[in-house]
Structure formats: structure tokens, C-alpha cells
Symmetry: C2
Subunit: 129 residues, 2 copies
DNA sequence: AAGATAATGATAACTGTTATCATTACATCC
DNA sequence: GGATGTAATGATAACAGTTATCATTATCTT
């Protein structure tokens, strides 16, 4: 991929302008809502092109892939199964212990994904009330 | 679910008899190969019924769900992206640091999944050779 | 043995995603 | 500026994994 078309520019701007974790459909709808014209296939291709340029990041959740802006330091995710809120966190010790665990098994790591599920503070309070 | 049918028994026996991580299709084919007659829908229903009984465990990978026998202690997974090998590991400190990270964000954890990707020892050697 | 209920299996339907392919937009060279 | 090669677009088909539908069958309880 070489051409940074107006569609891909629009996708990139949208994602860069927020801290959300977008799925392909949300991106498409948000762009169409601003009056842009973009096909869903173009969104999928654009997202994966932008990701392989390193311009955006992604996490693969159970059902679908979600994209977020790049440039933040590495982090993992905590997902509220009640309201869908996605919280980011990072923990250097966890990261290095992962490396250690891999080494112990003779694995050469290329990546990892740690996802934690539970209830965010707000949802916990609402459920307790 | 209350009825332990021959089909579900067969699924359970198959999974209990190995350390593999099975997807639905593999289970179906393995059972058909032994001469059993079982529909793919029944396999899906059986797997999820057995899981909610706690009789088998699962991990949700990017593309599909995989089932393994229950009863092993909690562990996470390391996957070789070259040969598909799935190695299990557990690390108490990582587990408790996860708890700590969640608490810091006000999250009440209900579960988590840590998957590491890379090259297993064998594949690393083959690639170096 | 009956009756109630849950499971089965073939298949349709659904979701997220990639492939196809004709058309369009860019960029480059003349 | 115009021809030409190349990559992107968009509508839509296809695909994988999974769940839903529904008539039929098996299992459990009395
Ligand atoms: Mn991490
Ligand atoms: Mn763990
Ligand atoms: Zn929440
Ligand atoms: Zn390997």
C-alpha cells in the first residue's frame, strides 16, 4: 500500500481524534455520519493498511477486532463486561515476567495479549446499590 | 442442560483422553472417525454445555474457540505461530500482579486471558538452521 | 408405559471479515 | 496535457465459525 487516499486519511483522523477502540462498523458509520462516502470494504482495507504502517494499533477481541490510535506506549486492556468500557493499563513487571516465562519454555516471543474481564468501578457501584 | 447423552459422553471422553486443545470441527471429525454419528450442531451445543458444567475448559483464540480438559490448575497459553503448538504455563506472580492492576483501576475482576505468541523451541531451531 | 422435557441433526441464518472484479483516482513519463 | 501503469474503491459474493430453527428422537421421572 502506498497511496494515502482521502478515505484512509479520514479513517486515520477519526481514530487519532479520540481514545476510543473502534470496530470497523463504528468507523464506517461515523464517517458516513459526517457526510463522507465510504464503503465498508474500504474501511476494512484501510484499517489493516494503516495498521501495517504502524499508524494505528489494534486488539483482537473475542468477536471482533478493535482499532485505537498508535503512539501510546504498550498497554493491555481491562474490559467491563457490563458497560463495555475499555480501560488501559500497563505493568512493567508483568511484562518482564512474561518474557521470563517464555524463555523458560524455550519460546521466542513476538507478541502477547492480556485481556482482563470484570466490572468497572461505576458498574460495581450500580450493582451494589 | 440435564441429560447426559451418548454424544456428550463421547465428546467428554475424547477431550479427557488427551492434552490437546480441540476446536469444534476437530472434535466432530475425531468422533466420526471412530464410527460415531454426531452432527456438528450437536458438537457445538455439547461443548458449550460441558463447559458450563465445568467439565471442560476453553480458550477463545482470535478465530475460534478451543476446548481442553478441565481439572488442570489455572494456566495461560503460549502459541507457536509457526507450527501451532500450544504450550501451557502458569505464573503466580503474574496472576497476583494482575489482581493488583485491576484493583488500582477499581475493577472487580471476573476473568482474564493471557496469550503469548512466538516461536517454540523446535521452530526456532529450524528457522536458525 | 406415559408424559414431560431436553437433545439431536439437517440446514438456514448470522457476524465479522476477505475475495472478486469492474470502475475510478493517482502518479509518472512522454 | 494526455497516455499508461498501478493501486484504491465499492458493491457484492464468498467464507469461517457459530447460533437459531424446527421437526424428530432420546432420556428422565413418575
Ligand atoms: Mn502487555
Ligand atoms: Mn492467568
Ligand atoms: Zn462498566
Ligand atoms: Zn513451533
Amino acid at each position: 500500500m502506498q497511496k494515502l487516499t482521502s478515505q484512509r486519511q479520514a479513517i486515520l483522523n477519526l481514530i487519532n481524534a479520540s481514545n476510543r477502540h473502534w470496530d470497523a462498523d463504528e468507523v464506517a458509520r461515523a464517517l458516513v455520519d459526517t457526510g463522507a462516502s465510504i464503503g465498508i470494504a474500504t474501511v476494512y482495507r484501510g484499517l489493516s493498511a494503516l495498521e501495517s504502517q504502524g499508524l494505528i494499533d489494534s486488539i483482537q477481541l473475542a468477536d471482533k477486532k478493535r482499532y485505537e490510535r498508535a503512539g501510546k506506549a504498550h498497554h493491555d486492556h481491562m474490559i467491563c463486561t457490563s458497560c463495555g468500557r475499555i480501560e488501559e493499563f500497563s505493568h512493567d513487571t508483568i511484562e518482564s515476567l512474561q518474557e521470563a516465562a517464555a524463555e523458560k519454555k524455550g519460546f521466542k516471543l513476538t507478541g502477547h495479549q492480556l485481556v482482563m474481564f470484570g466490572f468497572c468501578r461505576k458498574c460495581t457501584q450500580e450493582l451494589d446499590a
